[in-house]
Symmetry: D2
Subunit: 404 residues, 4 copies
C-alpha cells in the first residue's frame, strides 16, 4: 500500500468506515483485489465474471481510461459489410465492427450496407471540422465584457505561442464572443488532428484564458473554463446549425431494383414515409429529423473506443430521401456533430484498437476516413429502418431478432 | 452449414462474391469462425483480441443480443460508492459499476458519491413512467383522421384483449391523437414493467393498429408503425416536458463543510456558476440545462446491459442549485426520459447481469430501484463537475486522469 | 386636477421635474391636453396628427385599453375576399379586413382567398381550446412540492366555488403539476368563452392559489402568479405540441387549373418547394414549419382589436402540401396557439368592432367562428407565398407593391 | 374605371360574380368607394367608422403600404417617459409613444421608465447588424452543391457590381453556405442602412442568384428565393444565437431604494423570481428566456409604422437580473433579432412618422438610435413585470387597468 499516491481531493474514509480501497484511482492489480474484496464484503455479492479471463488481464493496460478498476464488461460484437465507400478519405470496401447488446441492430445495418454496396457505394465528405471549449466570464458591465472580448480577439501572437507549448495537434480556428449583459462567453474552436479532442481543447483554452486574464487591463470577476455553451455531452441548436467535431455528409443512389430486392420496399413508399416522418419530428420539437443515428453511432463508438457518452451530441442530423428522375432512391444523411476520432480516449485499448484496424483506421491520419465510413454506416441504418417501416416489416424484424 | 436458416431478407451474395458467411445472423461458433476467416482474408487483418479468452466463450450466450457475431469488445469497468440513497424503492448504500474508457469519469462520479453519502444521502423519486410508440396514418382529410382517432379512443375493450394476448407486462396508459392536416399520429403510451420496453410496445401497438384498421369503417391510405414522434433514439421537446421511460428526480442537501472538504468549492460559488451556465444553455438552444448527465448514463447503461444508444434520449434534464437558509447547498437533478430497465436487452448478458446484481437490481421488480440509484449517480456527477468548474479545478483533474 | 386619483404606484415627479402629467393613467381629454403640452414642451416637437380628427374623438372611449393617452395611430386597412369557409362554426363567404402598412401583404392574401373560393372553399375546425396560467411555487423539497400538488389536484369543490365567484366565463379544464426539484409549477388551463382570456385566467388562478396556500398544511416559501411556463407572449415547444388558445386546422384542395390560373404555379412545384422549405426550417431550428402565418395574424389581430403582441405566440404551426391522386393540390395549415377572441381587449373599440362586424363576428358567441375564418385566411397566405416562391414571382410582387 | 390598371395576377371575377372592385390594388378614393359599396351590399353591414374622419383622408397617402384599401383602423396611443438612455447613438431623455388596445401595458412600461430614469438611465448598445435572405437550390449531388457554393463565394467582383446597381443602402457582409445532401441554402447577410430591409435584400439576392445561375457552369435544378432559413416572420434558434436585424443589449443598475419606492419589490426578490422563471422557460422549451418583450415591441412597432408581424421574430431574448455588491439590482435585456427601422414600410405614414419624430428618430440616420431606445423600453417592461410578479402585485394591476 505504500506505493499509493494520496491526491488531495481523494476520499480517505467514509461514514461506514470504507478503507483505503478507493484511494488509488489508477488501475492496478493490487487495487482491483482490495476493491473487489471490499465491495464483495459490503454487498454480499460475488464479483466473478467482471474479473474473469480476458484478453489482456493486466489492469495497468487501462491507465488513463479508468479509475477504481474492478474488471471488464464484455460486449458482444458483430460485423457488417462490405460497405463500399467513395469518399475523399475513405475509398474501398469496409467491414465494420459494431458492439451492442440490442438484437436486430447489426442485422439491420448489415442489410443497409448490402443495398449500398450493390448500388455502387456511398459518397461521403467531411465538410467542416472543429471542436470547441466555451469559457464563461463575469464582468460588471457589458462594456467591460466587450473590452475583454476585443482584447482576446487581438491576442493572436501570444495565443499562438501558448498553443505551441501546450499541444502539437490543437489548432485554433476561431474565437467567437457571445455577450449577454455582463456575461461574456468566448467560444474557442479548434481542430485537434485525429483525436476527438475534448481534453486537449480544455487544457489549451485554460492556458489561453489564464494568460488573457493576466494580460488584460480589464479583469473578469469570475472565470469558468466551461459555460455549457460548447455543447459537450449535450446537443445544442447552435451546434446543429453549425458544426462540432466533424460535419459529415453521405449520399447514395439506391437503384429501384435493389430497393425492391434487398430493402423490400419502393423508392416512392420510402419518400412518402419520410414526408410524414419529418412532419412528426417538427411537431414533436425534435432536433434535426432522422430515425436512429444513435444506434449505429453507439455501436461503432463502443467497438472503437470512442466515447459513447458523445452519442448524446453526435446523434443529431437530417435525412433526405428523394425519387430520382430514373425512379431510383436518392438518400442522404447529414451529421453536423460527429465527435469521435482514431487516437486518444479508448482507441488504443486492446479490442478497440483491433476494431479500428479492421477498418484500416488505427491511429494517426485516419480520423477523416473514419468519419466518412461512419457516415456511410449511418446511411445504411437509415435506409434499412425507413424501408422496413415504409413496407410494414419493422415489427417482424424486431420480433424475430430482438427476443430471446 | 445445413443448419443455417435462410431468411428471406438476408443477403446471399454481394458484388465482390461474399459467400454465405453473413447469411446466418444468430450467433454461433461455426458462424463466427467462417466470418472471421472471411473478414481476415478480405481485409488482411488478424482478429485475435476480439476473439480472445473471455468469461463465457460461447457465442450462443448472446442469442437475441447480436447478429454477425465476431467476438467481444472489452470495456474497463470501475466502481463508485457507497452512494447512500433514500428513495421510495432504493434504500441503503450502493456500489455502482461504471464501464467507460474515458479517464477521470469514474473519479469524478466517485467524488460526488462521497459528498452525498457524507451529507446523509440523496432522496430520489420516480414521478411518472411511460414508454410510447407513435404510429402514423394518412387519410384524405382532417375529418377522416378525426373519425379514425375517435374510433381508436373508444376501442378499449378490443384493445385490452389484444394486449392480454401480446404481453404480460405492457399496460396501455394513454392514447393521444395528434392531427396535422390529413395526417394522424396516435401516441400509444404504456408501462412495461421492468424492461425499457421498446420492442414490447412495438409489437403491441402493431397488433392494435392492425385491429383498428381492420375494424374501422374509415380506412387509412397508409399506416407506419412509427412516425418519429415517439422520440425513440432521439430527444424531443415533447418528451422533455412530459415523460418517456421514467421521469426521475433526485435531490440532496450537501453541507457547506462537505462542499468545502470534498468538493473544494462553496455553495455560493456553485450557485453563482450555475446562473451563468443556465444562461449559456438558453443562449445555445440546448434541451434542458445540465452538465454531463450523458457521462454517467452511458457508463451505467454500458455496465448493466442497457441500450447505450438510448443515452441520446435519456441525457436531457434540468439541474437546480440553491444555497439553503443554513448556507448549505441544495442540489437537484431532474431526468424526464430515463429509458432503461433491469430485464430485457443486454441485462442478462454475463458481466452485465453481475453488475446489476452488485446493486441488488438484477431482474424483475427492480426497475424503479435502478432508476433511483441512477438518478443519485447523475446527481453525484453534476455536483462534482460543477464544483470543479466553479473552483477552477476542472482542467487539472482532466490533465492528471485523462492522459496516458 | 383635483379629480385625478393618485394611485400608490404612480410617479409624481421625475428627475427633470415632470409634473403630474403622467399621474392619471385613465384616458381623459384633460389628461391628454396636459400630457401633450408637457411632451411638446420637453421635446420641441408638435403632436398634431396623432391628435387630429378621428372617428371618435373622446379619449374616454378607450378606457380599459390605454393609459397616458396622447392620441390615435392610424393604420391603413384593406379588405380581402370573399373567402368561402366550410367550417363547423363559420359557413359562408367572408370579407376580411386587414390593417397593415406593409405593401403586398393584402394583395397576396387576397390572391389566396380567390384560389380557395374558386376551388370550393376551405374546411376549418377548432380541435382544442384552452388558455393557461402557470404559477410557480417554491418549497424546501420535492416531497413538499408533491404534497401541495396533490392537495391542489383534489381541491375541485373549493376551486369550483372560487371560479363561480370570479368569472362567468372561465371554466377550468385541467391542472397539470410540473415538479423540478423543489419547484412546483401548476399549469391551470381554462376555456374562457369568446375572450382570449389572459386577464380572466390571471384573476381566477390568483384566487385559487391564494385559497390553496391558505388551506394547505404544506405552505410554499414563495408564490408567483406566473412562472413563464404558460407561454404568455412567447411560444414554447410545450404549447406548440399541445394547445394554447385555440388549436385550429384548415385544409383545402385547390384544383390544378386554379393553381395554374390564379397562383401561376403547379401543385408539383409547390410540393417540391415545401420539401426543401421543411428541411431548411429543421436545419435552422425553427418552431414548426411555415412561411408567414405572422403576416396574416398581425394584420387581422390589428384590424379586430386583438392583441398584436400575441402574434409572438400565435405564429407557430405546420403546413402540409401534397399532390392528390387527381393531380390537384391538397394544402393544410395547423395553428396550435391561436390566441384571440371576439370580446375583451380592443375588440369593442370603434373601428375594430366594425371590422369584426363585417365578418359577422362581433361580440359573444363568435370566437370559434372567428378562429375558423382566421385559419382560412392563413391558408390563403401560405398558398399565395408558396406559389409565388415556387414559380419565381415572389421578388417581382414585392417590387411592384412594396415600394413607394 | 378606365384608370384602373389590370395586372396579370389579379382576379377579375369570382364564383359569386364579384366585380372589378378588387382589381385595383393601389389605394385610391374611387377604388375605396366601389369596394365599400360592394362589401356593404354583400355583407349587409355598414362601413362607417373605418371610413370616418381622419387626419389624412386621402387613400393615395398610403400607396406602397396597402392594397384593397377600405379605410383606417384607429389605435389608441399612450406615451411613456422620460426614459434616460445612455447609448452609443441615443443619448438623453426620451418620450416613447406606444399604440395598443391592451389595458395596463402603457402603465407598466411607464413605471419601468421611471425606475430607470431615477436610477441614472439605461446603457444601450447595438452589437451586430445584419438582415438575411436565404435562397434554396437543388442539385443532383452534394458535390454539385459544393461546387456552386464555391463559385458563389468567389464571385465578389460581380456581386459588388450587381449590388451597386440594385440598392444604395444594401451592403453584403456575409455569404454562408448550408449544404444538406443535394440541397444548398446560401444565407446572404446584409446591412440595410436605416430600413428593416427585407424587400431590399430580396431584390438584391434575387439579382445575385440570377447572375450566379447564369454564370456558373454547374446549374441548379431548382432555385427558390427563400428557403425559410432566413427566419423572416418566424424565429429560429440559428438567429437567436447569432443576429437578425440588430442585436441590441441594454443594461441598468436600479438602486435598491428605487426598486422599493417605485417597483414595490426588492432586488433579492426579483432575482429569486427569475431563477425560477428561467427554469420554467427551459422546462417549457421556450426560445430564450424573458417575460414579455413582445408587448413593448408590438406597441412601439405599431406606433412607428414598423412591421408588427416582425414581432414574431423580434420577441426573443434573454434577461439577466443580479444583486450587485451594493445590494442594488443589475438588469439586462438582450435582444438578438430586432427587426425594425426608421425608413421604409409604414415609417412615413402620417401618425407613424410623427411618433418617430417625438423621439427624434424620424428618417435616415436614426435606426441605431431607435434600436437603443427600444432596448431601453424593453428593459423598462421587464423590470416592471418582474417586480410586480415577485411582489405579488401583477394580478391587481391587471384588474384595475385591464377591465372596462
Amino acid at each position: 500500500m505504500k506505493s499509493i499516491n494520496f491526491q488531495n481531493h481523494l476520499i480517505t474514509s467514509t461514514p461506514n468506515a470504507m478503507e483505503k480501497v478507493f484511494t488509488e484511482f489508477k488501475p492496478s492489480t493490487e487495487g482491483q483485489k482490495l476493491r473487489k474484496e471490499f465491495v464483495e464484503k459490503h454487498t454480499n455479492k460475488k464479483i466473478e465474471l467482471l474479473d474473469g479471463p480476458n484478453t489482456v488481464n493486466t489492469p495497468e493496460t487501462f491507465k488513463g481510461n479508468i479509475e477504481n478498476y474492478i474488471g471488464i464488461t464484455q460486449v458482444p460484437t458483430g460485423i457488417v459489410g462490405p460497405l463500399k465507400v467513395n469518399g475523399q478519405h475513405a475509398n474501398g470496401e469496409f467491414f465494420i465492427p459494431l458492439a451492442t447488446t440490442e438484437g436486430a441492430l447489426v442485422a439491420s445495418y448489415h442489410r443497409g450496407t448490402q443495398a449500398i454496396t450493390r448500388s455502387g457505394g456511398v459518397h461521403c465528405v467531411v465538410s467542416k471540422t472543429r471542436i470547441g471549449r466555451a469559457p464563461g466570464f463575469r464582468f460588471n458591465t457589458t462594456s467591460e465584457a466587450q473590452e475583454f472580448a476585443m482584447f482576446a480577439l487581438n491576442a493572436n501572437g501570444a495565443i499562438d505561442q501558448i498553443l505551441a507549448e501546450k499541444s502539437r495537434f490543437a489548432k485554433l480556428v476561431n474565437i467567437e464572443p457571445n455577450i449577454i449583459g455582463n456575461i461574456l462567453i468566448l467560444l474557442f474552436e479548434y481542430t485537434t488532428g485525429d483525436a476527438a479532442g475534448q481534453n486537449m481543447v480544455t487544457i489549451c483554452t485554460d492556458a489561453i484564458c489564464k494568460y488573457l486574464i493576466h494580460a488584460s487591463k480589464i479583469k473578469p470577476k469570475k472565470f469558468y473554463i466551461e459555460s455549457n455553451l460548447a455543447g459537450d455531452k449535450k446537443p445544442t441548436a447552435k451546434n446543429v446549425t453549425s458544426a462540432r467535431g466533424r460535419r459529415v455528409i453521405a449520399e447514395a443512389t439506391i437503384t429501384k431494383e435493389v430497393v425492391k430486392s434487398i430493402l423490400k420496399s419502393t423508392p416512392e413508399d420510402i419518400v412518402d414515409y419520410y414526408e410524414l416522418a419529418n412532419i412528426a419530428s417538427i411537431h414533436a420539437g425534435a432536433m434535426g429529423a432522422q430515425g436512429h443515428y444513435a444506434n449505429g453511432l453507439a455501436a461503432l463508438f463502443l467497438a472503437t473506443g470512442n466515447d459513447v457518452a458523445c452519442v448524446s451530441e453526435s446523434f443529431t442530423g437530417i435525412n433526405l430521401f428523394q425519387v430520382t428522375d430514373n425512379g431510383d432512391l436518392y438518400v442522404s444523411v447529414n451529421i453536423p456533430n460527429f465527435v469521435a476520432g482514431t487516437v486518444g480516449g479508448g482507441t488504443s485499448c486492446p479490442t478497440q484498437s483491433e476494431s479500428l484496424d479492421i477498418m484500416n483506421c488505427k491511429g494517426s491520419g485516419n480520423a477523416d476516413k473514419f468519419a466518412e465510413i461512419a457516415a456511410g454506416l449511418i446511411l445504411a441504418g437509415e435506409l434499412s429502418i425507413s424501408a422496413a417501416i415504409s413496407a410494414g416489416h419493422f415489427t417482424n424484424a424486431h420480433q424475430s431478432f430482438g427476443r430471446k
